[in-house]
């Protein structure tokens, strides 16, 4: 395993994927939750629409994005050429393929994290905001002084779940299998996909299982680290 450059490659791709996906989901999820926080009819509608991608299967998601991103004639490249942007092969260029997979993953997962944050925001008493406003705090100040500190349990949950999702939830396999097959030049070969390839394409079951074990160890290490850094998810200064 240690001598297999493709294994190291897939581990590196996985780490880039985690490092990009987890913060993006946090920011996008929290941003959307704040946007549709108040319970108006319009917001209820927006929430439903934002969550809708989650109910569609990842295979369909992969196929739809693939057709939207087709080289030259795909909708995105048509739009790009209208804007006088250079034509980009979103899924065929090793420089862009992983970014594309990350963006589609965020698009697919954002509704779920928005709902988790909405649940967390609901638990913050309104009185705190009113008191802050009377004391002359602006929206930015009350966000950093009230919302963020009181959201810590939710934040911990989101970071934990999204890290697990980035390592081994189904989108790591389904999207890659449909959209890129790990290519081009192995640039989107996430560890889960590489494990699948070794097992079911090359019949290297033992090798695949060994790599999966390493992946679980990495995941456990990240989880333990997060627990230690946050004092069991409670955040020492909450």
């Amino acid at each position: 395993m240690a001598a297999d450059p493709l294994f190291w490659r897939s581990l590196r791709v996985t780490i880039v994927y985690i490092v990009a996906l987890v913060p993006s989901l946090y920011v996008v999820g929290l941003g959307l939750a704040l946007l549709v926080q108040s319970n108006t009819r319009f917001n209820g509608f927006v929430r439903s629409l934002l969550f809708m991608p989650q109910t569609v299967s990842l295979v369909v998601v992969g196929l739809v994005w693939q057709v939207l991103l087709v080289d030259k004639i795909g909708l995105f490249n048509q739009f790009g050429s209208v804007m006088n942007l250079p034509a980009v092969s979103w899924l065929g260029d090793p420089r862009f393929a992983l970014i594309t997979v990350i963006v589609v993953s965020v698009w697919f997962l954002m509704g779920f994290y928005m709902l988790i944050f909405l649940g967390g925001l609901q638990d913050i008493p309104r009185e705190y905001y009113e008191a802050a406003r009377i004391d002359g705090a602006g929206p930015v100040q009350s966000f950093f002084r009230i919302t963020l500190p009181l959201l810590q349990p939710t934040s911990f949950f989101v970071l934990l779940v999204s890290t697990v999702a980035a390592v081994c939830e189904s989108q790591t396999f389904d999207l890659v299998y449909i959209m890129t097959r790990g290519g081009p030049a192995n640039s989107t070969s996430l560890a889960i996909f590489y494990i699948y390839q070794q097992a079911f394409l090359f019949n290297e079951y033992g090798y695949a299982a060994a790599m999966a074990s390493v992946l679980v160890l990495v995941l456990m290490a990240i989880t333990v680290l997060m627990f230690l850094l946050t004092g069991g998810g409670r955040f020492s200064y909450a």
Binding site: L32, L35, F42, N43, V46, S48, L49, L50, F51, M52, P53, Q54, T55, V56, S57, L58, V59, V60, V61, L63, V64, W65, V67, L68, V70, I73, G74, L75, Q78, F79, W107, M110, G111, F112, L115, I116, L118, G119, V164, C168, E169, S170, T172, F173, D174, I178, I192, I195, Y196, A199, F200, Y205, A208, A209, A212, L215, V216, L219, M220, T223
Partner: protein, 282 residues
């Protein structure tokens, strides 16, 4: 007090552009969220030479793509397989999960906490990670290429059991004590008191389980090679290989696969959204 009134009015007037901006942002983002799905449906209704034109409404809408999909491929069979497997998994899983959750919440037996912890530990390990041992296990049990192979491994789900256990812990004990005095056994209590009380949570779980199974891809892909047992997700993935480039057919097949889940979401959206918001289950 009197001095605040005009200030409030100013504040309200000032809020107008902010509110407008929020409306615009909300509309734009929700459009971005669903636009790819609109284009999926749109392309499925277009003729071959129009597929890549940017207009959302087809110039000459046609159902030919759908007819092609259903006549060229055994799509009804795949839909039926998927429906059958998803329904059986959902029903069996709910029966077992609620019994397990109840036992873990109420019965006292040696090793209960260890069992609970062991189940909870699997929460972080998702299916793709254990796909290789799972496959080897299923193979040695002779489950390859069978409905049992599609159904049995999908039944266990730590979160369902965990959630039901938490729910049962919150039911007041007095209800069950009254039943014990009346001479009811454990199963009787479970059947006539606990189950009816858990109807809302069971229906929420049922929707989520059904959706998850309908959409599952990796396991059906791994365990079935016989085309008669294909589930829809596997079918459209291979359809895409077979009709490489015929995007109008591929989009028609995708629409057929996505419509049931989208319809389920539209009908049950309140329940789905509430249950995820409060518990974080998927």
């Amino acid at each position: 007090m009197h001095e605040q009134a005009p200030e409030d009015r100013i504040r309200r007037r000032m809020l107008q552009p902010v509110q407008l901006a929020l409306y615009l942002t909300g509309s734009m983002l929700s459009f971005m969220a669903v636009a790819p799905l609109f284009w999926m449906v749109s392309m499925s209704l277009k003729e071959t030479n129009e597929v890549f034109s940017a207009n959302l409404i087809p110039h000459r809408p046609t159902l030919d793509n759908f007819i092609y999909v259903f006549t060229q491929v055994n799509f009804f069979r795949y839909l039926w397989n998927t429906f059958f497997v998803s329904a059986v998994v959902t029903i069996v899983a709910l029966a077992f999960h609620s019994m397990a959750g109840y036992a873990l919440a109420r019965l006292r037996f040696p090793g209960r906490d260890v069992i609970f912890l062991a189940m909870f530990a699997t929460f972080l390990v998702s299916q793709p990670v254990i796909i290789v041992p799972l496959f080897i296990l299923a193979r040695s049990l002779g489950l390859l290429d069978s409905y049992a192979g599609l159904i049995v491994p999908s039944i266990f789900n730590a979160f369902g059991i965990f959630l039901l256990r938490q729910f049962y812990l919150a039911i007041p004990r007095e209800l069950e004590e009254a039943a014990i005095i009346d001479g009811a056994g454990y199963f009787r209590i479970y059947w006539s008191i606990v189950l009816p009380l858990s109807r809302p949570i069971l229906s929420a779980l049922a929707i989520l389980f059904f959706l998850a199974n309908w959409n599952s891809f990796l396991w059906p892909l791994t365990i079935t090679s016989n085309q008669d047992l294909w589930m829809v997700q596997v079918a459209i993935a291979s359809f895409r290989q077979q009709y490489n480039g015929s995007w109008n057919y591929i989009m028609a097949a995708s629409t057929v696969v996505a419509l049931p889940t989208l319809a389920m979401f539209v009908v049950f959206q309140k329940r789905i959204i509430e249950s995820i918001k409060t518990t974080g289950i998927k």
